[in-house]
Symmetry: C2
Subunit: 338 residues, 2 copies
Amino acid sequence: MTEGGARILLGHGSGGKLYRDLVRDVFVAAFANPVLERLDDAAVLSTSGRIAVTTDAHVVQPLRFPGGDIGVLSVAGTVNDLATAAARPLALSAAFVIEEGFLVDDLVAICRSMAATAAAAGVPIVTGDTKVVQRGVADGLYITTTGIGEVVAVHEVSAAAVREGDVLLLSGSVGDHALAVLAARGEFHFETTVESDCAPLWDLVAAALEAGGAAVHFMRDPTRGGLATVLAELAETTGLGIDAEEEAIPVLPAVRSICDLLGYDPLTLANEGKMLFAVAPERADEVLGALRGCPLGARAAPIGRVISGHPGRVALHTVFGTRRVLDMPVGELLPRIC
Amino acid sequence: MTEGGARILLGHGSGGKLYRDLVRDVFVAAFANPVLERLDDAAVLSTSGRIAVTTDAHVVQPLRFPGGDIGVLSVAGTVNDLATAAARPLALSAAFVIEEGFLVDDLVAICRSMAATAAAAGVPIVTGDTKVVQRGVADGLYITTTGIGEVVAVHEVSAAAVREGDVLLLSGSVGDHALAVLAARGEFHFETTVESDCAPLWDLVAAALEAGGAAVHFMRDPTRGGLATVLAELAETTGLGIDAEEEAIPVLPAVRSICDLLGYDPLTLANEGKMLFAVAPERADEVLGALRGCPLGARAAPIGRVISGHPGRVALHTVFGTRRVLDMPVGELLPRIC
């Protein structure tokens, strides 16, 4: 990232004055809100009763990539996990593990990204922690965000609610995030215009819930392992079959080109701003329309259906007219993309 | 830690099969509870309304030390931060950043420590995340825990509630944790019997609240920066003065010896199983009695008082009969002790 300027010292990870100065000058300055500003060991919130909790460690490398940075990612990823539980984001915590020598200006820039993304999602960052480790035992910065949300749906939104006949809607194109990070890492020997899709999706999910109500049975953001993993898990968990149409799954031309060239399957690539919905067929059109009415859902599409046939498995009807079983990847070909 | 056995691969950090196997065989096996077993992206909980949230990143080195390990620490530290807000622990999340090559058996052992500590504190670990980074960019394992608690006190427990005349009660001896970790790191050229005090303190705090009710004005666990930092912050935040008696502050003989030998001040050393209370004078004896009735509070002692004199500052009456201003340390002499 940038050169020169003040750097993080081991002393910034103490409980003493350097630590307090860092908290005030960087974190509180960026995330300004009354709960955080109390600087208590725990933040106190009021809730209506049913809450959702999720946590994500972020180790993406490089820290900045086309379309975002670790700050955007850490907020969006957590907001999106809350959204899968139909939970409006209420508060975030953020814990930083920082490598000694990290530039304070880069930390400030990342905190500004977090703050802007959190503001866009309407959620305050209410508490946090910072540890500093010696040079060489962290890759600049790791951020763990935890989200607390208020569950707004009165019906159950989970794999257990999925039924035969449900239509699978995808909010947009797949593969953008993973390829943007790989490109930023210099792993391709050519230029690309692919940008990460990382963005908080609560507004999109709220629109889907408003349009579909209890007909929205399931939501999941296809991050690590990609859409293939989400579909395979859904089939396995429900014991139902899934038919998916390869041609219906949006893939940007630039992503398609790289995948064709290098042999990646876009369905196994990570996304950070997409959501898959399983919706009862009688309301699928309304939900699709609501998604398309959102800036982040303009390319939403029906990509498949839940069936009673081939239970526990996903059949992908390919663009070549053949059918193949879609399974989750075994390991990780592309580490540290989130 | 131990030698031989299966090791963590980068693929364990994927969203694929290796990842799922790790989650089921290690984390779900250790933390078994119905919310976690759903393996949803977000855990859903019911609460009574007022909740507390806190997060802590743990980077202690070595991972195992006399009296505990990073697993005990990660649960106890978070439960204790919730306790400072008079919040009964309701749920924990745990996010792991693991270095490629880490022994799976060591991860299992650490998860068992977490599970045992969480069980002792009566709190389930309901959600989590795991990322794997390449060899050399983490020191084995970092764990970030976030706690959600239900606030049980109807009165405000915070620095803002502290009044002139309040008695300061400390639940036990200071300095044990920091010295146990330093000894385990081989930084002393002699043997010591000092063990970390790391333990969850909710039962102790609940006993204090039951005995003292609204007379319990403030609680804080003196971790990084030690008791000196907590007292200096309290004086600064309240604008009141604090008189503390050095002789009254419990220090174990083995800790005292090392401090005398090496020039450490036990008041600036980190603790992971101690709590400082500010209590209205008319109820201080009841609260002290309640603390002493708890296994973790047997050595509880009154160590000072909040006064109107020397506002914003802490005066320590030393064992030599002199008085010195007690301030928080500027940086960190002892990194990575939590």
